[in-house]
Assembly symmetry: C2
Homo-oligomer: 491 residues x 2
């Protein structure tokens, strides 16, 4: 359809400007055969593209929601929501009494819209950060919410205890001990809104105690360095290889803490070896440093025995952090830390001061989900689902991209694909974006990309890998010489 | 040390029970070589372990703080704080006159303590911070949660947009415009987890832009100064009188922002006068300062016409902040800000970085509650309920404490009771605690107390005021001369 659409648009002479001509026709095509996503997201996408392409110029007044819904044959709510989303993203401006106009800047910030927005343009979601959203156990979650909303005593409707509701702290202490070998009593558990939120507290508490710098994995999750900087701490990169963080390199550094993802490092997928675990703990004990263990997708492992949490080796120097973002959904906004006794009171006090506690009813519902075994059931289903998706992806990679090395596929929600040495990560990402794939770069010493498969159903795997192979192919230094390269990359 | 400690303990024959033997020796070892953490946390830990291990049995009476601090060689504050923390966690019970004992259950709830627990010891909850928790519309809230949990597209289960879900931002912009005269388009609305959480972001963003100091109301809500300090800003108190903040005194200060609660100031209950509102806005415009408007309980007013938000006068220099804590319940953990255009992008970016966004399903459910008119219905019921409770309280105060002046009763969830000049606030608070009343001090230039009535049902008013009168009576300087004073204070 793309071509037809372009032709149709070309017939329009110049950008539309129809402020004074009553309801304008936006010529949006939302009923293409290959259109994906909800009606709302299709309306959004069509409008967004029209604005970005310059067809709808800054200042253009859009038709009323009533008028546009008639034009498009969709419900009015669909249009209102699309307008609201685009207004939130900065593409549109809504003024009371003045209707909705295209925002004043010709290069709108692709802003706060965040992930839902970005998803809607994608053909395949290869993000390593999201579990299968369609597998979220809505019924069980709603049942838990309903139980606690009906049964919780009134006092749970007041201000929540800073460190979390006792019921969830107790459930988490039990769960983490059983599932991850974490050593923690309930009073060492801190419930937070997200791992980032908890990490911000940790860096601030350490900074308050005199810490100056933190060692971070390189490559690694950017959230660690971002939050450290926000708390006034410097961050120093330490290389990661196939055995995880090179612990020995910590010796030369003057840092007060180290952040590490031992179970399944992002983005390399490596697992911290037993020797290095032990060396890391020794280093912490010797220097008085604190290790932050980011156990973010450790619930998922396929071909290897479970490895307990690092924290279990040395609960007095390791802060364990995990969240429900991968085990259930990012939208849960629930995370937890198991803290050394020396940090627990200061962390709770700062959580109270900053008002970051998650809603008590959410906490109680999550505790209910754990206690009833619903979380375990969900995780078992998830492991089967992701293993099947991963296997399909590995098989297809083997078929279509046999020369490329795969790393870190034994666990988690992503694998790492090493690129041919001469290929630049940024070129692959750009081509992939053009092909409707969102990828994360590896960002290490050799080029590579991170391919998440949680939201990639098996039927889509061949086509997604085809687009991936195309993106890599067209990013090869010699690609421009090939006659079909351009076509593939920018449809 | 562990071994020595164990040996020392083994010498004790059975659990300690020394209620009647004067100060007991707890054999706490807080000076071990490898002991970590502050003195307070070491004292806490030692006590907690002794209780959990069964060495200190339920019912055991602990030494007074004075006695234990001597035993341990630490300051008395350290011991008091440790006792308070363990009481909050449920390990200890503190009764006026009866000292501190190990809590009655042999397996104490290792709880987060927090408010619910503390409340349970109270006879009347006179907190100004909580709406009537029993009036929370559980059915409507659960219905909204159920609707959105079933209907929200999968993309709402991913990471939330940093500034809030578009649906709630739109609903809030409409609601705030209609209910509070706030001028804001959805893209200026930031949804946060609590007003504190949003204020932390604001101070940090202003500090990043070079701000150094913020003017705060004196007396005022301590959260403002606490969060400012946390963000590295100094805070400077500006007096409040019956017309609200003395805006003129800002002229002499070098501050970059001012925090003000124009609708119903805590704790004085005063309303910022029209002249001062206008002067405040002028001052902001002239100096480039930002005003934070804390509109925390503005939904409730009884005898006076509604006053629009300050923000409506000058949306480009005023940050409007409100929350669902008073209109629904603190446990909602939802708050919002209407931001000047110049601050909105930086606030959303910092919210993302710190991971403080509330759960999207909560946001969607709250939007649903607003759109269906459920929130308005709930607020209408609330106004009737609180007016009746306030009227009953005023009547009873007039009967039992006719000489004391009442302030700030025209709106909100509390009134301020001015005390006789010679009475100390702290004495009244201490007596009141003994009588089972939790009160807040006024903390201004004249003595006064803050009496919240949201959770005080009419039938309880006479008895609550009787206890209040008793508490004030026994705090009068001449009270000890009266034969019955002591009896009244410690029941």
């Amino acid at each position: 359809m793309e071509t037809e659409h372009r032709v149709a648009l070309a017939r329009l002479e110049g950008p539309l400007r129809c402020e004074n001509h009553g309801p304008i026709d936006l010529h949006l095509d939302i009923h293409q055969d290959n259109a994906a996503g909800s009606l709302r997201s299709r309306v959004e996408t069509a409008l967004r593209e029209a604005i970005r392409g310059g067809r709808l110029a800054p200042g253009t007044r859009l038709p009323s929601t009533r008028s546009l819904c008639t034009q498009l044959g969709v419900s009015r709510g669909v249009v209102s929501e699309a307008y609201a989303q685009l207004a939130a993203e900065g593409y549109l401006e809504t003024r009371r009494g003045a209707g909705t106009t295209v925002a004043g800047t010709s290069a709108p910030r692709p802003s706060a819209g965040g992930h839902p927005e970005r998803l809607s343009r994608l053909r395949y979601d290869l993000s390593p950060f999201r579990p299968a959203l369609s597998a979220f156990p809505r019924a069980a979650w709603l049942a838990a919410l309903a139980r606690v909303s009906r049964q919780a005593p009134d006092e749970h409707l007041g201000y929540p205890p800073p460190a979390g509701t006792p019921a969830l702290r107790e459930a988490m202490a039990g769960y983490l001990s059983r599932a991850r070998g974490v050593q923690a009593t309930p009073e060492r558990i801190l419930i937070c809104s997200s791992l980032r939120q908890g990490i911000c507290l940790l860096w601030s508490v350490l900074a308050e105690k005199g810490a100056r710098a933190v060692a971070v994995e390189s490559p690694g999750w950017r959230g660690i360095a971002e939050t450290a900087r926000d708390s006034g701490l410097a961050s120093v990169g330490v290389p990661v290889d196939r055995h995880g963080l090179r612990v020995r390199e910590l010796e030369a550094l003057r840092v007060d803490a180290v952040a590490v993802a031992p179970a399944h490092q992002f983005p390399t997928g490596s697992v911290l070896s037993a020797d290095r675990r032990s060396a890391l703990v020794q280093w912490c004990r010797r220097t008085g440093a604190i290790a932050l263990e980011d156990d973010y997708d450790a619930e998922y492992r396929y071909d290897r025995r479970p490895l307990g949490a690092l924290q279990g080796l040395a609960p007095e120097v390791v802060v364990y952090g995990g969240s429900a973002s991968k085990s259930l959904a990012p939208a849960m906004r629930l995370a937890w830390m198991a803290l050394p006794e020396s940090l627990a009171p200061a962390m709770a006090a700062l959580q109270r001061l900053r008002g970051g506690m998650p809603a008590p009813l959410l906490q109680l519902a999550f505790a209910d989900l754990i206690e009833r075994g619903d979380l375990d059931r969900h995780l078992r289903r998830g492991r089967r689902l992701y293993r099947a998706r991963r296997d399909a992806l590995l098989e297809e990679l083997d078929r279509q991209l046999p020369d490329l090395r795969v790393m870190g596929a034994a666990a988690g929600l992503f694998l790492t694909l090493m690129l041919p040495p001469a290929v630049e990560e940024s070129s692959v990402l750009a081509s992939a974006r053009g092909n409707g794939l969102a990828l994360q770069p590896l960002g290490g010493s050799e080029p590579g990309i991170v391919v998440g498969y949680a939201n990639l159903d098996q039927a889509s795997v061949p086509q997604a890998v085809k687009l991936l192979a195309r993106s890599i192919g067209s990013a090869r230094p010699d690609a421009s010489a090939r006659p079909d390269a351009g076509q593939n990359v920018t449809p």
